[in-house]
């Protein structure tokens, strides 16, 4: 399931719901991205999405991950709008029979979300606002998954 939300969400609630009533899963990996205060350099983060398009693009990658890693289930929750330091920005959970697939799929989806998913991220701090774009590190991380 893919969910965009303007309101804060609780990653613990999300993981609890995701793990419930699984008797054949074995492994659930999760990732929670949290807005950092950067020692006062960031007051607020603002995430813009393209409603409809964004969900569909993420769903396409979640389906690719499901096939590639033989997942049983996948959940992506992503905040949009203004986000305060300490609030969760993104939550990804993957369910598989064994741990390697669950870990790799979660890692793969996060690399995609960081550098290719249709979100635009603006940081506002005492020095003003700036748009954040993928770093070289993000691009290198993503390149790990390219199949030749």
């Amino acid at each position: 399931m893919i969910r965009l939300t303007q309101a804060p969400f609780d990653p613990g609630q999300a993981l609890g719901d995701f793990c419930r009533d699984r008797t054949e899963t074995g492994a659930v990996a999760s990732f929670t991205g949290i807005a950092r205060a950067e020692q006062g350099r960031t007051d607020i983060l603002e995430l813009e999405a393209y409603p409809g398009f964004t969900e569909r693009e993420i769903a396409r990658h979640a389906a690719a991950a499901t096939e590639r890693f033989a997942l049983q289930d996948v959940l992506v929750i992503h905040r949009t709008g203004p986000i305060a330091p300490g609030e969760a920005i993104v939550f990804v959970a993957t369910a598989a029979p064994h741990r390697r697939a669950a870990f790799e799929a979660c890692d793969f989806l996060m690399d995609y979300l960081k550098s290719r998913a249709p979100f635009w991220k603006k940081e506002t701090g005492p020095d003003g606002a700036r748009w954040i774009e993928p770093t070289d590190r993000d691009r290198d991380d993503l390149a790990r998954w390219e199949t030749s």
Binding site: F53, R56, V90, F119, W120, K122, W131
Partner: protein, 79 residues
């Protein structure tokens, strides 16, 4: 006519986020933007900026219907 959407730094640059611009193709739309706002046109030409028509990514010129939605997408970064 097309509904044009700008995201991220593009809307900061243009000073708007959503506008109707009359155009029968993507090429014509870009031409109109070039006339009205050369700085925005320049920004849209960057290879990292992607274009979606009716929520599908396109890389070549396409015809626009009267109710088409054209979105210009600067480099993306979620999470």
């Amino acid at each position: 006519m097309a509904r044009v959407l700008l995201f991220g730094r593009l809307s900061d640059l243009a000073g708007w986020r959503e506008r109707d611009i009359p155009a029968a193709s993507l090429a014509e739309l870009r031409g109109r933007i070039a006339t009205e706002d050369p700085a925005l046109f320049e920004a849209l030409q960057a290879p990292a900026v992607r274009t979606a028509v009716d929520q599908e990514l396109v890389s070549l010129d396409v015809a626009l219907r009267p109710d088409s939605e054209v979105a210009f997408l600067p480099p993306m970064s979620g999470g």
